[in-house]
Amino acid sequence: MPKDAQHAPETLLDVRNLSVDFRTPRGRVKALRDITFPIRKNRIVGIVGESGSGKSTVLWALLGLLAKNAEVMGGEARFGDRDLLKASEAQLRATRGEEISVVFQDPMTSQIPVLTYGRQMLDILYRRPDVSAAEKRRMAVDMLAKVGIPDPDKRIDQYPHHFSGGMRQRAGIAMALLTGPQLLLADEPTTALDVTMEAQIIHLLQDLQKELDATVVVVSHNLGLIAELCDDVVVMYAGEVIEAGDVREIFHNAQHPYTRALLECDPARIDDVSRKLPVIPGDIPDLTRALSGCIYAPRCQRAMPVCRTETPPDVRRGEMSQARCHLLEGPHHDPDWPPPLDVMTVGAGETSASKPARAVSDKPLLEVSDLNVQFETVGPLRARLKGIDQRHVDAVLDVSLSVAPGETVGLVGESGSGKTTLGRCVLNLVQAQGGSVRFEGQDTLNMPEGRFKPLRRDMAMMFQDPVGSFSPRKSVRALITEPFQIHGVTDVDLDAEAERLAEMVRLPKPFLSRYPHELSGGQARRVGVARALALNPKLIIADEPTAGLDVSVQGEILNLMADLQAEHGLGYLIITHNLPVVRHIADRLAIMYLGRIVEEGRTDEVFARPVHPYTKALVEGVPQPDPDRRRAHVSISGEVPSLLNRPKGCDFAGRCPIAQDRCRAEKPPHVTMADGRRHACHFPIGQ
């Protein structure tokens, strides 16, 4: 590497005019069109875009690993003296893993379950015949140690399922860096991880990049991650690069209306929770049709007639910065664009009328007290044979929670926190071992299904994966009227009901005859909401209502849920790990850790002054979409312990920065503070 690299970063990989088509039964999808951007040496480049933007396709095209129905239509990708797009399969194979390596999105599925890490890492080093097996193993152990895996010489002989999600991703990074590649590609490296793990992985990538002087490309839809990690940013939309530039330029002075809108929609960026969430109306265009003009024009708030007919100019400032918009240059140049950051350009200024001061009802809709749910881990016979005393784990431990009519309660926790089990227990889908669940005053815990079924009309579930939870053979009309049939409601006109419900969730009538696979993510969610609402329930339990939705449409669902609540006085129990989202919709929050509620209180107070150190770590753990607010250190280390060896004292003690001896010895009881907030901590913050 030349010495002057710091002064004028040279280009490591130059992508020029890359175009990729997919051959599908519907016709050719022009997935990538004319993609041009440089990857500069020793920098972290972020490629950001929503689903369908083609950001991952760029990665796979560079590696020559596109799906079989893909075809590179043109362009070049200069890497050193080679063009990766024209390289032979053997040349590419020599490049992959050796000079260009990848960190994958989901470490749970991207590592082969039947081979040890040692075997997998040895395989990656197969091109080094002059290095002995013992030496290769030492290299692998060193790399595992470098990415922060404790006991690497023991753990290298373990299989992926022995590692937790965060540890797997660390191992994935170790595998990618093992050969000392010049370029590291990271495809949504934290999407599958919990908030506290995400922060750790971001910092690990940052540290390693500095230490190894590597060049990194991060593909993500997460603006916070991009702002926190990257130096350069490429913004993609519907298969085109619409803007690129330095991370501060992009986040502080975005030139393209789409970039601007995307930033405004990020709930993490919006501090004013009284307003409705902004939304980019419309869907991404159909890429099988002939395209003209600006690709974003149909959804752009500033679209002019010329945008639909003429290709916008490619405005460049310097080596990296580019943006394609008529507003920036030419006859339609607008000197006032872009407006200052605090001016909203999408869904501007609509104050939500949907949060009227509710008369606090003294009769809660749902009341959970001291609920305990245990799962059997060892059969009785085996326990006796092996002398195991503890045959059960506590999935939910002494949980108390209430939801009033018209109230939204957010149940927040990482994976394994027991939040989903709690939701299922409320719906009588899991047997509980103790405590009570009262719905409108009636004890429903472990009620036989025959007696519970009528109550199911009053409580509905919104599932995490709407498409997966629908029968693929039923039309939308059949799906949203199915609850009537399940509950034997015969005195209604199903067609009329279907239309009423579709209108309620703002789903256009023609969609009623579509099938689940013909719906976009947002539309499928709306069908899920309509189905949940069919029988006019009083309580809706929503499991990750915005999971898998793009930033630009998740506001739509949240606004819809808020409106419906205002209209029908619904109670919501929202189960989620997504703090920025729940902040906008929940009145109260309950934070769960390892099956216990560690803190509960009004959302604004919990965010402003977290009392429990875990809550504080969660609130601070969300990466902010602002490169000037990067965190200097990780606020929480370690991982969620296994339920099988629950700590004796406070569950959080092992990771808590302020833990004392007492925390490790005795479990903190739930304490209610003067303002009604409850917590379980021996040394609450600020008290």
Binding site: R96, F104, T109, Y159
Partner: protein, 314 residues
């Protein structure tokens, strides 16, 4: 692991007991008196009574059953009705032929079917995939007794390449092997199709997994990706299928052994059923069941050996 083995062996014992019970009651309920068959229609009253006593046929049914179980556990499966030789010895003489036949039949089916399935999955819709597809359906559709007869007619009678009947001279390995080829071909043929289809389907699924893409993204050679990564996972359901296939094959040997006049368990059972030779039928079916249970258990343990997740959940 030990706990798992103990559990599986315990369950196997229960299955064997149930099989014995079913065998015992089946033979008890079918018409025909064993004494009359054994001694012929003109036996004297006295001879009948003596025989019935010797065979415990005068005792209550449940006692007969217990005696049988007790004897079976000690390796005594009774005496052949006609020759008075121990059934165990008769079965042991023949079981080697059947095991050789089943092993050879499944062996060549695996050697051909598994690679065919892999090749077809790696290049879907190529000519090799299409040929494999046609071949699979073709071989599965033809019943094995038909294959036996055709093979016999073509290769033994017309072309005279291979011997038609028997198992070869004892002690002469070459001769025995040449006698094994046609029957092994006949009973293995449909398994080439089954295995190719099964391996193709699971390989196609596994080739779409993220970890295969990872292996390719790390630049591993296609050979290593296909056989070291994909096949290692895709073979797991096939192992179960092969284990169960052994059971099916034991019944295919009945046809093959009759058509090629080979000695073996299948032919033994057939002859014994025709002659109402109850001790032989009971003993041979019991041994076949035991073999089947053992192979299935073995295939489950093999899966645990291949898959660490299964191994640890045992």
């Amino acid at each position: 692991m030990l706990y798992y083995l103990a559990k599986r062996l315990g369950l196997s014992a229960v299955v064997v007991c149930l099989v014995v019970l079913v065998l015992f009651s089946l033979l008890y309920f079918i018409p025909g008196d064993p004494v009359t068959i054994a001694l012929g229609p003109r036996a004297t009253e006295e001879a009948i009574a003596r025989y019935a006593e010797k065979m415990h046929l005068d005792e209550p049914v449940w006692r007969q059953f217990l005696i049988y179980i007790g004897n079976a556990l000690t390796g005594d499966l009774g005496l052949d009705v006609f020759s008075d030789r121990p059934v165990t010895a008769i079965i042991m003489e023949r079981i080697g032929f059947t095991l050789a036949l089943v092993g050879a039949g499944m062996g060549w089916a695996m050697l051909l079917g598994i690679p065919l399935g892999c090749l077809a999955a790696v290049k879907p819709n190529s000519w090799i995939d299409r040929i494999t597809g046609v071949l699979s359906v073709g071989t599965i559709a033809v019943p094995s007794f038909l294959v036996s007869i055709w093979a016999l007619l073509i290769f033994a009678v017309h072309l005279r390449w291979l011997p038609a009947i028997g198992a070869g001279e004892p002690g002469q390995i070459g001769d025995q092997l040449s006698h094994l080829i046609l029957p092994a071909f006949a009973i293995g043929l449909s398994w080439v199709g089954y295995l190719a289809r099964m391996v193709r389907a699971s390989m196609l699924e596994v080739m779409g997994e993220n970890y295969i893409r990872s292996a390719r993204a790390f630049g591993l050679l296609p050979r290593r990706v296909i056989f070291g990564y994909a096949l290692r996972v895709a073979i797991l359901p096939t192992i179960t299928l092969i284990g169960m296939g052994f059971g099916g094959m034991i019944s295919s040997t009945v046809f093959a052994e009759i058509i090629f006049a080979r000695p073996g368990i299948g032919k033994l059972i057939f002859d014994a059923v025709m002659a109402r030779n109850f001790p032989i039928v009971q003993g041979a079916v019991l041994v076949a069941t035991g073999l089947y249970i053992f192979v299935v258990l073995f295939s489950d343990i093999l899966i645990a050996w291949f898959d660490p997740r299964v191994r640890e959940s045992l």
